[in-house]
Symmetry: C2
Amino acid sequence: MSEQNFDVLKLENQICFPLYACSRQIIRKYHKYLEELNLTYTQYIAMMVFWEVKKINVKELGSRLYLDSGTLTPLLKSLEEKGYVRRYRSKEDERVLLVEITSSGKALREQALSVPEKMKGCTKLTKEEAVTLHQLLYKILSE
Amino acid sequence: MSEQNFDVLKLENQICFPLYACSRQIIRKYHKYLEELNLTYTQYIAMMVFWEVKKINVKELGSRLYLDSGTLTPLLKSLEEKGYVRRYRSKEDERVLLVEITSSGKALREQALSVPEKMKGCTKLTKEEAVTLHQLLYKILSE
DNA sequence: TATAATTAAATTGTACTCAATCGAATTGAG
DNA sequence: CTCAATTCGATTGAGTACAATTTAATTATA
C-alpha cells in the first residue's frame, strides 16, 4: 500500500538535468575560443543578435535571448565598455533603451567566424541527430 | 569570391543556445515548487544524489553533477545549514570531505515527491520525444 | 485633465558557475 | 626516506541568472 516510488526523483530520470549539464558543458568548451574575442558566452549570443538586427531595445533583446533586464543591463554596459555597442534612450519613449552595434562590433563578426569553425564537431552527434535535437528544444521553448 | 557566409553566427542555427535557454526555462518553472522546500534547483539535484547514495565526497558529487568545488563548497555549506547534510573530513585521507545525508534530509524526500508530480507535463513533448531527447543529451554528455 | 494603471529599465539581493589559484595532505620517484 | 608532483577542497573574482522592487515615463480612464 504505502509503497512509494522514488524513481521520479532519480537524477537519471530527469529531463532538465541533462539539459542543464549539456548547456554548461558546451559553454565551457566555448570559453577558450571566446576569450580570444574577449567575450563571454552570454555576450557572444547577444552579439549574434546585434550582427543580425543592428539596433534593438532591451525588452526585445531579452525576449530573443530569454533573459531579463537584471541580466542584460550589466551585460550591455560591459559590451558598451568594450566598444561593441552604443546605448541611448529612445526619443519617442524615454523608458526605452536602444542598443546599437558600433563599427567595432560589426568588425568583430569576421573574427567571430572562427568560433563556430573551431566548435565544429564539439558534439559527436550526427547531422540528423543535431536536427532532431534542435527541433525538440524549440518545441520546448515554444510553450 | 570574398563572400563570407555568416549563417553559422545566426542564433537560430546554434545548438548550444536552445539548450541553454531550455534549461533555464525549465529551471524557472521548478523555482516556485522548489521554494516550498526551501531548495534551489542546484540544491535539489544535489539532494537527488544524497537520496540515492547517502554518503559521497565532493569530487565524486561534482563528477555526477558536472560541477566543481567552487560551486559545490558554498552549496553544501548551505545544505548543511538547512540541516539536510553533514560534512566532515575523511579519517583515511584528510583531503577528502565526506558529505552525508541527515534524517531531516531523508525526510525531505517524501515532500520532494510532489515536485516531479507538479512538473509533469511542463514540456509538451510526447513520451517518445522525451526519450529521444534524453538519449541525445546523454550522448553529448558522454564525450 | 488629474490620477490610476501600465510599462521599460535599473537596482538589489541571493545564489550560482567556473577559471585560476592556494594550502594542506598524500603519493611517488630516486 | 625525502622532496617533488599530485590531489582534494576551499577561496577568489568576474560574470551571470532571476525574483522582487523601484523609478521614471507613458497611457488609459473617470
